[in-house]
Subunit: 290 residues, 2 copies
């Protein structure tokens, strides 16, 4: 394979794996994952497993990345065998991870010094959206590079929106996540209160989903509560990480996100009770202990 | 008209008027409104304007009611020319107002002593739902009485759910309103933060409405912000009244509605700034003054 006809993909977790699989349906892929076994389970005639991120970058012009947090993205780029160790002329790096806008801008500058263009392209729609190829993506960075990668993004997502310069994708993602965190907690609080008042779950669900209480997160909470299943999905630790990043951003921008700060305190308490690895909707169980 | 072939309707406000008009398409109506001119504008061959609530109750077996708050419902029932002054044998009173479950149970008992059955049937879907006949209604009270009025409720609403004994309709309404209040404030905070960060309203709206930030209230906020129009609609004073009723109920039930209490403080500040008569979504403007 040459750098012109393969795509690179870094990070094959809950989100990255199905996203890479969508790309693999139409293109040869060179992939890297920290836990090598996960990558090898995917290997086949059109999917090669690289030894290092640097190898992916050396071989592919377009490099997609879906990692857990700032530390993971920083390491895969700047680490000893990282992407930034390779010649990056004409490369476009598309980062689907949700990380801080500040780190995004710094990495974009460092990539630029090496000849690459950085696009931040975080996603919303969860693991279901990743599997079904129905993700929404918000993309920051130069419009010309965006146009180049757009056909590939369309293989992984349904709605792809260019939202501004580099970092703006992350900003919008963090703000949208702040709203959904609040909606998640509102839905939990309301449904739980309804049950405590003696209302039935089915009646409460029917009314709330067909009125002004309706939200994406309400549907998710109701589904989890019905199944009594809090295996992640999107973990409490990830949810809290994103909420914290959003509030760091609010502080930097001197934006008084008052309701979100109240929510942060409550969600932090839930995390501190040992729920980090449970699904975000396990917030629901906080009323078990009162 | 006799009490068997007419319907009574008390309260012809933003919600009551279109609801009464739906019923009037198929049945003769006897209506009462505190401001008599509003009722007379509606009068016609099949709509008669009564002098008092007592007259409506004397003439109609089914009495629908849509009023602003506890005080208004209490007065129209217990006042000097109120419903409770009439012989109420075989009457069914259907209260669509959003009032406290506590007052609902008391009025239901007083109505029962006079021979009437009380159903609490608060609605969700707003003035648009009332005009289009697409309201969702949650009904508390005896199931037999519910079955009797169900065909009429279907003329005003789309989804009609019997949720339990008398008062349970109000309880579910208050809880659903608590959730929508939180979603409204979350949407306002998020969209405003996005604009402060330099994102475009169209891009932010597109992404948020197609991802996990989506909610009924987000759509409403975006519509109001685009039109820069905060005429009510559902006023800040009404929204705050319902939030307060929900928190009174939470306190009675010893349910710790922590996020809602934080929201109550923030929304009370907005009310105190003089926005009571504006649309609930004017909460959006709180960041103008920072």
């Amino acid at each position: 394979m040459t750098s012109n006809d393969c795509l690179g993909f870094l990070g094959l977790g809950v989100m990255g794996l199905p996203m890479a699989q969508h790309l693999a349906q139409q293109h040869p892929l060179v992939v890297f994952n920290r836990t090598r076994e996960k990558a090898e389970a995917l290997a086949g005639s059109d999917i090669e497993v690289a030894q290092t991120p640097a190898e992916v970058a050396a071989r592919c012009r377009l490099i997609f990345c879906m990692l857990a947090n700032d530390e993971a993205v920083s390491h895969v780029m700047r680490g000893p065998a990282g992407v930034f160790q390779s010649d990056l002329r004409d490369r476009i790096i598309v980062d689907h991870s949700t990380i801080s806008p500040r780190l995004t801008r710094t990495l974009a500058a460092e990539a630029g010094q090496r000849g690459a263009v950085w696009l931040d392209a975080p996603v919303t729609g969860g693991d279901i959206g990743a599997r079904e190829g129905t993700l929404t993506m918000m993309v920051g960075g130069p419009r010309e590079a965006f146009e180049v990668v757009l056909p590939y993004l369309r293989e992984m997502g349904r709605l792809i929106v260019h939202v501004g310069p580099v970092g703006q994708g992350q900003m919008l993602k963090l703000v949208a996540n702040l709203v959904s965190a609040l909606n998640l907690m509102a839905a939990s609080e309301g449904v739980r209160m309804a049950l405590d008042l003696g209302l039935g779950l089915d009646e409460a669900a029917l009314v709330m989903q067909n009125g002004s209480a309706q939200s994406f997160e309400l549907t998710k909470v109701l589904d989890r509560v019905r199944r009594k299943d809090f295996t992640p999905g999107f973990s409490v630790a990830h949810r809290y990480k994103d909420l914290k990043l959003a509030l760091d951003l609010a502080r930097e921008a001197r934006f008084p996100a008052d309701l979100a700060w109240s929510a942060e305190r409550l969600y932090r308490e839930h995390l501190a009770r040992g729920y980090g690895a449970q699904d975000e909707s396990s917030y629901w169980t906080r009323w078990d202990e009162g």
